[in-house]
Amino acid sequence: VAGEEDFFLEEKRFKQDCEEFIKHSQQIGDGWEWRTSKDFADGYLSKTHFQITSRNVSPDLKEKNNDNIEQTLFMHVEESLDDSQVDGVCAAAEVIRYEYHVLYSSSYQVPVLYFRACFLDGRPLTLDEIWKSVHACYQARLLEGPWDTITQQEHPLLGQPFFVLHPCRTNEFMSSVLTSSRKENRRTNYITSWLSFVGPVVGLNLPLSYA
């Protein structure tokens, strides 16, 4: 596109922005951490969160995406005196464990979002099941977004199957974000900008305080 330079994220900047991102995450207790491969040669961002999916569980329970989820669930259960009500809540609630990793691709010089989800008994969710858990409005965005859809791929550091949202045209939408912030002499955190765009599509939300 005329006037916009193609911005490629260098690995050094990736690591710096990740470090800054983690610092803020620690301040607000958002749960992101930096992990390294066993040989310490490479690192990536990692976050795990639990989510309750159920029609019978009250809406405010569903919104919780942090460690308090189990506490909250049990509190609700204790409050109801009727045994049948307790059974109802437990049976209806399914807890899913989501795991998100942000890795750097040296081939494309962009970050890549890897994720997987499983039930508490270890059974992994299929792509279909994950798709269904994506909020309806984001399903539309996913279908029209600049990406090649979600596919299953081998995690390049762990060797295990993950789902990958790998937009082939990351540089296109990131260029405009970075060009405009450069014009305004604002330094943007690439990871924050990128993740706030691609994250919600797969159930990952960033609190506004990151900006």
Binding site: S107, L158, Q160, P161
Partner: protein, 275 residues
């Protein structure tokens, strides 16, 4: 003197004699005979084993048959790795035929990608080709091609058509006359002993002074333990397509002539047999 093009044919037509045996715990209506097949080194397990699947399905009850998967000596075989790579990495110094066990139950979700159709293999294959071209040409050559050219690469592989494949692939092996080679070399180095499935890094085929980097230079840079002899003896072999190329070989030449159809050099570091 062997023409370089003969190397392309030798790589394409490499075969591994394989014996497929059904896992003993699979429930069958009668005894399952092993199935013998010559596997193309450059292809993928789930692309070339339709006959294997049919053979074993004949002795099984329909309801027992779910997604097929393969295993060698307890290790699930990743169908998305080329067959030649799997053999070199896991079984190259063992007696032929290669003995693979066939499973229809208990799919190892933590180890293997699903492969529900040929479309999944095609998508994976094309994704590798695109990544290779991102490294070689900043994606310029692959993006300039038409969809039918992409399709021809896949059809050439699927139907074992060397000429059809290379009519298009030769464009992916070219570089501007002012350069001496690709921008970066698409390669992956595998060692069965590491948690990390492979090593992949940016590596230029030409040094700043214009000299051609060699296979030895690549290994020294990204995987020095592979060629540094401990106590004077080389403990490992560096294998591509079942052979050990000389470490002095220019990596640009290797990339042009010994890449797999996905345009990557898949290199195995394996223990040297002691006999």
């Amino acid at each position: 003197m062997t023409d370089d093009k003969d190397v392309l044919r030798d790589v394409w037509f490499g075969r591994i004699p394989t014996c497929f045996t059904l896992y003993q715990d699979e429930i069958t209506e009668r005894e399952a005979e092993p199935y013998y097949l010559l596997l193309p080194r450059i292809s993928y397990l789930t692309l070339v084993t339709d006959k294997v699947k049919k053979h074993f399905q004949k002795v099984m009850r329909q309801e027992e048959v779910t997604e097929i998967w393969f295993e060698y000596e307890g290790t699930p075989l990743k169908w998305h790795y080329p067959i030649g790579l799997l053999f070199d990495l896991h079984a190259s110094n063992t007696a032929l035929p290669w003995s693979i066990t066939v499973h229809f139950k208990n799919f190892p979700e933590k180890d293997l990608l699903h492969c529900h159709s040929k479309d999944v293999i095609e998508a994976h294959f094309m994704a590798c080709i695109k990544e290779a071209d991102a490294l070689k040409h900043k994606s310029q050559v692959i993006n300039e091609m038409q969809k039918k050219d992409h399709k021809q690469l896949w059809m050439g592989l699927q139907n074992d058509k060397f000429e059809q494949f290379w009519a298009i692939n030769r464009k992916l092996m070219e570089y501007p006359p002012e350069d001496s080679g690709f921008r970066y070399i698409p390669f992956r180095i595998y060692q069965a002993t590491t948690e990390r499935p492979f090593i992949q890094k940016l590596f230029r085929p030409i040094a700043a002074g214009g000299q051609l980097h060699t296979l030895g230079d690549l290994l020294k840079d990204v995987c020095p333990s592979a060629i540094t002899p401990e106590d004077g003896e080389k403990k490992t072999q560096v294998m591509i397509h079942g052979i050990e190329p000389m470490l002095e070989t220019p990596i640009q030449w290797l990339s042009e002539h010994m890449s797999y159809p996905d345009n990557f050099l898949h290199i195995s570091i394996i223990p040297r047999p002691t006999d």
